[in-house]
Subunit: 286 residues, 2 copies
């Protein structure tokens, strides 16, 4: 598997290394890029746990790599960061006919599509849950301990993936997540295309629905949501998460942050606290 | 002057505000953008000193705003950040005939051009030294205390501007600065176009030459330079700065950082130390 891994760039960062790779993905059936930050703790032959980061609509692995400032805290805490892309890529991969930003390329929604033409490449769930960690753990000096976080569509991905894989992730967190996509315009549009008209199938990829089905009883969750986020009322529906967690006894701390919006300025302002939250669980359960 | 100032965006960041503005520049004779970070210390009616940031070739005010992570330290230390653009902009502004990245748009070199066609807009020296601080100090809750820093071409700008304006800046710092442009390919190309063939005129915009002329005796300077910077040997010529500072009794601390390159990963890794350096002088001389 590692034989197809090609390094695109390597930058020294906070005493560690930020590296970007290209590889052939078997689950997505295309070439993919991802980035990894390896903290200085690996220099003496040590292994570190991993925080996976899932980005939002239109993003690649670069947005978080460039804008979040997370490397500083990963270096201090001894945690590796893995930044994934947001959809399959390449000439043969289907895209929205109108080039919409919220469907197709850059908008994989971290699910396994069942409908044509999407089902030949759009298997981001399998990629994030199985293929990418297997690759990372086979090549880099990391342990199998992992946590997951993300932003917006990637916050949806992080929460649903952690909820659906009990015991695999020590903790999950999100910034501005789409917590109830079956009731949001972004989610309805994407799920109808990727998963078809059977709405019952959608709930397998919905944070609120999964909690109502009993998932997440042993999963520590941290969510930050800006109160000046223009997507809050229509697309993100954060109050539905607060209610579902409370009704089902899920340990989810949801913090509304006055004045903050949907941007990476918001993520950068609070990513330190997310890294500390995950490090506590990653190390505590090591 | 403030009547022409138009806010393009405002993002909450580390308890303060990161704002981007457009305004008509009289010195550059075109519309310009800049960004300012106001830390939370201004919320109670207080005023804070300012660190001006000058970016490198091809950049705008956005690169540092998005990638350096400096807002965290500015918020902690109570310092405003002002990020400038790197050249005049707009349809009427001359650009390199071949669209080269190191001449014309995005490559103003923080000087006042004397040669046509550049001399009708390329007055970045006047803009950074006079017009922008006057505007900032008339509109925002800042004191007249200021320091200056920058990267690559912007490191050249920060050092030369501070050296040429004794007593105006409490301190100067730079990442990967072009310290001796009269002897570097980038500098020779730009200075010949902007300033003409009289090489004697070039030394007014050269850090090493200015130090050899006696400037900087009372200016604290901090420089970080990555040893894996691909521009180091041919373009940056950092050793010439070390020698000039030593020969002329200038208080310049030049640190070579093993493994680091020319990127914003390098800047992000050390910007905290630059902010602390400037805050010490900005506050100590208040």
């Amino acid at each position: 598997m590692s034989s197809s891994l090609e390094m695109i760039s390597a930058n020294r960062s906070f005493g560690g290394w930020h590296k970007k790779y290209q590889h052939r993905s078997s689950s997505l059936n295309c070439e993919m890029t991802f980035s990894i930050y390896l903290p200085p703790q690996v220099d003496d032959g040590g292994k570190v746990p991993v925080l996976y980061w899932l980005s939002g609509l239109t993003c690649t692995d670069d947005n978080f790599s460039h804008k979040a400032g997370a490397q500083r805290y990963a270096a201090a805490l001894g945690v590796a960061l893995v930044m994934a892309d947001t959809s399959p890529r390449g000439d043969g991969v289907a895209d929205d006919a109108d080039g919409a930003y919220d469907m197709g390329l850059g908008a994989g929604f971290y699910l396994n599509a069942t409908e044509a033409p999407w089902n030949s490449h759009y298997k981001m769930y399998d990629y994030i849950v199985d293929e990418l960690p297997a690759l990372v753990e086979s090549v880099f000096p990391v342990t199998t301990k992992k946590a997951i976080s993300g932003h917006s569509m990637g916050g949806h991905g992080a929460l649903t993936i952690a909820l659906k894989n009990s015991g695999v992730y020590t903790s999950a967190s999100a910034f501005s997540p789409i917590v109830n996509p079956v009731n949001s315009p972004w989610g309805k549009k994407a799920f109808a295309a990727y998963l078809g008209d059977d709405v019952a199938a959608w709930s397998a990829y919905d944070t609120v629905e999964l909690m109502n089905q009993g998932a997440g009883k042993a999963l520590p969750i941290l969510v930050d949501q800006g109160l000046d986020d223009s997507f809050l009322a229509e697309q993100l529906l954060t109050d539905n998460l607060v209610q579902a967690a409370q009704a089902n006894g899920v340990d989810a701390k949801v913090r509304y942050q006055p004045g903050y919006d949907h941007s990476y300025y918001f993520i950068a302002s609070f990513i330190e606290q997310h890294l500390i939250f995950h490090a506590k669980h990653l190390v505590g359960s090591a």
